[in-house]
């Protein structure tokens, strides 16, 4: 037992910083064509005609293909993890500005890009809808009919629905909310909004499809190789084993690269032209590929005189954009926890996802939970202030403690919510006097705490292969996209097999050799794949012991592994292959009440404390300190856990203060990273990352996932700190200085002119 809790430097770090690590973007194969996409310029419309003649005639162009061409190799070219709603290239209709309509293939990507500009499309424009609340009742209907993919049981009831934009209508009922509101001492209601934002992996989506004899190899930047294989095989009507999905390292994923993105298009094109085809999106094309849901959240709480939250009603609207992607699951999974990590007897939750004519929204680090925490932790702070209570004390009084049932009815297990809150307060020195600033600069501090149910129920498989020299290869379809999974998985296998983790080779992301994995997403890998790796390593260890017994070695022998193989096979030959598959137990929630006795395999807990300085004359907010605390169970690699916490918090800092997809009639008006601003070094405050002492009993050696936990509390902690500093409340993200100044001036009774 030496590998657990060891802050081993990342195994792949050296190959990355020396430029040796492989990425799909760098791959070239003989005969490869480059694809460039022609995109819709209208938000909603019927395609009347597509004129590709000028593009075809351009020198160097191999071919120009449209949605009709795709149907020659994929008769029903619609894909998606939740709904089969996304055409590989638009067919009949376009649903957002930026939707792929046609593709140019050329040997030279610059020629393809130039030719794509020559394509002309004629549309009959249809009424469009952009707002998530309006879309529930709007006349504009984005898709004529709902087509659930059939993968998720809780979406099946939506099949065949027409004249609606609602892609999911989740509800939860616990106790009697209306009665509690009527009987309690105080009722508070607020509405919060979040903006649509982007993942911004520094490597954009890239897929390279190579056709073979009745087969296809796809090198792709995906977080979900097993899903991609099955989905491409389904589209082609092939057996899964004819499709090979291979994934090198990813230059970041954050949920942008889950399920099918460019793979279906690359596959169809490669089969159509019978040559390898590569699609490598530009950074700017990320604006039209996948994003994070904009939301509106109306939250209402009933509170007793002594500061107990007795009832909470949550109405959340999710702006899913033009394709469902995994959005309905975002609305459903977040529905479990929308009322926050508090012990509340009476809860009503409605979580509604809608189609709109914006670029699609899907999974992004936190899977909707940061949008929820933004609202419920802002709201919770506002209640405490209205009651004249300390904001941390108010939370402590209501916090959901171990063993108590959460809104879904599932009792909390291995969920160190109270410890995380205590740790944040302690690190913030909460009870000590605080410097309030001087002159125009006022200082304030705030906290935010959130929790998330893990994805469920999903499967991971792993193989551990011990060679005759005793060296070990671990095969897994968990993708290392910068989060350090190769290192963590090697540490788990090493712990079981009693070897140093750095001696293990990790082969990741190859559906030809590694077993099924649901995906590298939702902070599920440490727990799910970690358990599978542990099982595989234990299986290998048992088989090795059996082999030793077979060759007559006494039990517990310390013979060199090489000797065992040599004795058995007469030379250095043979293998021991251990296999592990893990799937946790789960009770699906009752569709009417959302109640379940086992709604998640584990809980993720994260809390943030923020200290800010607000310039009362300009509205500028400077975050000067961020304390991020999480429950990682027993961390496998504490250093990687801490960098996950700081990385997640910086990402959410961007979503809080600077990042914003700005729209004008469905058109993104800032589609470049010169105008869509992610945080830079000078925006990053002093960061502290802390893990509380905890154990996840069902996790591998007590560990659990942590990739999203620090995204939860950042936004409300900052807004709460702003109110603490200057007494104004911001309810909409991002928090830009002008909004703060406007709020300050409105509060002073001398509002700033509108323009």
């Amino acid at each position: 037992m030496t590998e657990m809790g060891r802050s081993l430097p990342r195994l792949e770090a050296r190959s990355k910083v020396t430029g040796r690590a492989d990425y799909v973007h760098n791959m070239r194969v003989p005969g490869m064509l480059h694809a460039k996409i022609f995109r819709s310029t209208i938000a909603h419309g019927r395609i009347l005609s597509i004129d590709t003649s000028a593009a075809r005639e351009m020198e160097g162009v191999h071919s120009v293909l449209t949605g009709e061409d795709i149907t020659r190799v994929m008769a029903k070219p619609y894909f998606g993890p939740a709904f089969h709603d996304q055409a590989i290239l638009a067919l009949e209709k376009v649903h957002f500005i930026g939707e792929p309509v046609a593709v140019v293939l050329a040997d030279d990507p610059h020629v393809a890009a130039e030719a794509a500009k020559l394509i002309l499309a004629d549309y009959e424009e249809l009424e469009a809808v952009f707002d998530e609340v309006e879309a529930v009742t709007s006349k504009a209907i984005v898709h004529d009919e709902l087509k659930p993919a059939g993968t998720f049981a809780d979406l099946k009831h939506l099949a065949g629905r027409r004249n609606t934009n609602v892609t999911l209508d989740y509800q939860l009922r616990r106790g009697d909310v209306e009665k509690a509101f009527a009987e309690c001492d105080h009722v508070f209601e607020h509405t919060f909004r979040t903006q649509q934002v982007l993942h911004v992996p520094l490597e954009s989506h890239a897929s390279l499809a190579i056709p073979g004899h009745d087969s296809l190899v796809i090198h792709t930047s995906t977080q979900t190789p097993s899903f991609v294989r099955t989905e491409i095989a389904r589209l082609l009507g092939w057996a899964d084993n004819r499709v090979s999905v291979q994934v090198p390292f990813l230059g970041g994923g954050f949920g942008a690269k889950v399920y099918v993105k460019m793979e279906a298009l690359a596959a169809a094109l490669a089969l159509l032209v019978k040559r390898p085809v590569k699609i490598a999106l530009t950074m700017e094309e990320q604006f039209y590929t996948i994003s994070k849901h904009a939301t509106t959240f109306r939250i209402k709480s009933g509170v007793s005189k002594d500061g107990r939250i007795v009832a909470r009603a949550c109405d959340v609207w999710w702006n899913g954009g033009a394709y469902a992607d995994i959005g309905p699951r975002v609305a459903q999974k977040t529905g479990f926890t929308a009322a926050g990590p508090y012990d509340i007897e009476n809860v009503r939750i409605e979580s509604t996802e809608v189609y709109t004519n914006r670029p699609p929204a899907g999974a992004l680090r936190g899977f909707g939970v940061p949008q929820l925490v933004w609202a419920y932790e802002s709201h919770t702070d506002m209640i405490a202030r209205a009651l004249g209570m300390d904001t941390v004390e108010f939370r402590r009084k209501n916090i959901l403690r171990e063993g108590r049932p959460q809104a879904t009815g599932t009792a909390m297990r291995d969920a160190a919510i109270d410890k995380v809150l205590d740790c944040v307060a302690e690190r913030m020195n909460w009870t000590a006097p605080f410097d309030r600033g001087a002159g125009a600069i006022k200082r304030g501090r705030g906290v935010g705490i959130g929790f998330k149910a893990s994805i469920s129920p999903t499967t991971s498989g792993a193989i551990v292969n011990i060679s005759a020299d005793g060296s070990i290869v671990l095969y897994t379809n968990t993708i290392d996209m910068g989060q350090g999974s190769d290192t963590g998985m090697a540490q788990l296998a090493a712990e079981v097999l009693n070897v140093p983790a750095e001696s293990i080779k990790v082969v990741h992301g190859n559906t030809d050799v590694a077993p099924y994995d649901m995906g590298t997403l939702g902070s599920r890998s440490t727990f799910h794949m970690g358990n599978a790796v542990k099982l595989a390593a234990e299986d290998a260890k048992a088989k090795l012991a059996a082999l030793a017994a077979e060759v007559g070695l006494p039990e517990g022998t310390n013979y060199d592994v090489k000797e065992i193989f040599r004795k058995r096979y007469g030379m250095q030959a043979g293998n021991v292959v251990g296999v592990g598959t893990y799937v946790p137990r789960y009770t699906p929630p009752d569709p009417k009440t959302g109640q379940s006795d086992n709604v998640t395999p584990f809980w993720m807990i994260g809390g943030t404390g923020a200290e800010v300085e607000v310039d009362t004359e300009t509205g500028h907010v400077r975050v000067i300190r961020l304390v991020n605390v999480a429950d990682a169970g027993k961390p496998i690699n504490p250093k990687i856990c801490r960098t996950q916490l700081s990385g997640g918090a910086i990402m959410q800092l961007g979503f809080t203060l600077t990042e914003d997809m700005v729209f004008d009639g469905g058109q993104v008006t800032n589609p470049s990273f010169a105008d869509y601003k992610i945080p830079g070094f000078r925006d990053v405050p002093v960061m502290e990352s802390e893990l509380v002492t905890a154990t996840q009993e069902t996790g591998p050696f007590g560990a659990k996932g942590i990739g999203e936990s620090s995204t939860f509390g950042v936004s409300p902690a900052i807004a709460n700190a702003i109110e603490d500093a200057v007494g104004v409340r911001i309810t909409e993200l991002p928090i830009r200085p002008e909004a703060v100044l406007r709020a300050l001036r409105a509060a002073e009774g001398r509002p700033l002119e509108a323009v």
Binding site: H110, A113, E114, K117, T282, E284, E617, T618, H620, G654, L657, T658, V662, T669, N670, S672, A674, D675, K677, I678, P679, G680, F681, R682, D683, R736, P737, E738, L741, R742, L752, E753, A754, V755
Partner: protein
């Protein structure tokens, strides 16, 4: 990208001859950081780019005059200027200001001449140099002319430079004891184009009395602008809270603001109101 000609003349004179007075698709390129942003989305499609990378090395030099002035070759990178002892000893305001011009990757590549000639009102070097009273020496087919930096700009991306004229160098006159300060105020991330930038240069008659003032505003308006009324209010005035309040109101009334992604005109007016006194105080501190 449509193929275009790429030429690398060995002299400034040759570079000028390869430009075309009547063809705006022929452009000079130095660092290229701004031009690339226009070429990537297709806002600018060149027929020929005249690279200045190989012109005489002299245009990449920084020279301090014995009188405290500074001559900066047009091909000097922003990072070289920021690290130049001559620049920061003679002009203390430059050090901090230049470090905020853009991120270090851009500063390593972008050139002084390009930053002055581009005409994007959100850039910081033009108002900084205008504040310091800098002039540029411009070379064209008919010879050399001398233009004050503040007079270079006509409007949004519009300058007085002809298509076949090149900035050869910038000359910053000595401070001679004048006090200067520069502020860049962003409203999104710190590494962003400014919502507003401004500089003041004050020649003092004594510790509290201003003899002459330059007040320059950028980013918030269509072009780099000297605020003449505000300057005349400052000239000969004694610095006190009342004066700062008056000039703050004067500047807010005098300047013209444009609403954009960085903020509304009303907000930018407020920023100027707040930052003018702050900048003057910083200059005098």
């Amino acid at each position: 990208m449509i193929p275009f000609d790429w030429v690398e003349p060995a002299s400034l004179k040759e570079a000028v001859s390869l430009l075309d007075a009547d063809d705006s698709t022929v452009r000079p390129i130095s660092g290229g950081t701004a031009l690339m942003l226009m070429m990537k989305p297709g806002f600018f499609v060149p027929s020929r780019l005249v690279s200045l990378a190989k012109i005489e090395a002299d245009y990449s030099s920084i020279r301090a005059g014995g009188d405290g002035s500074l001559r900066v070759g047009a091909m000097t990178s922003l990072a070289e200027l920021e690290r130049s002892a001559a620049a920061i000893v003679n002009f203390p305001v430059m050090k901090g200001a230049l470090q905020t011009l853009s991120n270090i990757r851009v500063r390593n590549v972008a050139r002084v001449g390009g930053a002055l000639a581009h005409g994007d009102p959100h850039m910081d070097l033009p108002p900084l140099f205008a504040t310091l009273g800098a002039r540029v020496s411009v070379v064209g087919p008919d010879g050399t002319r001398d233009i004050a930096v503040e007079d270079l700009y006509l409007g949004y991306y519009q300058t007085v430079l002809k298509n076949n004229e090149l900035i050869a160098e910038a000359i910053v006159p000595p401070l001679n004891g004048a006090r200067a300060a520069y502020k860049k105020i962003t409203s999104r991330s710190a590494d962003d184009w400014p919502a507003l930038n401004m500089g003041v240069r004050l020649e003092m008659a004594d510790a509290n009395t201003i003899k002459a003032a330059r007040v320059v505003l950028g980013a918030a308006s269509e072009r780099v602008t000297r605020l003449a009324q505000t300057e005349s209010l400052l000239t000969g005035a004694i610095v006190n809270d009342g004066l700062l309040k008056r000039v703050s109101e004067s500047a807010a009334a005098e300047a013209r603001f444009v609403s954009d992604a960085h903020g509304s005109a009303a907000y930018k007016r407020e920023l100027l109101r707040v930052y003018l006194p702050r900048t003057i105080k910083e200059a005098l501190s």
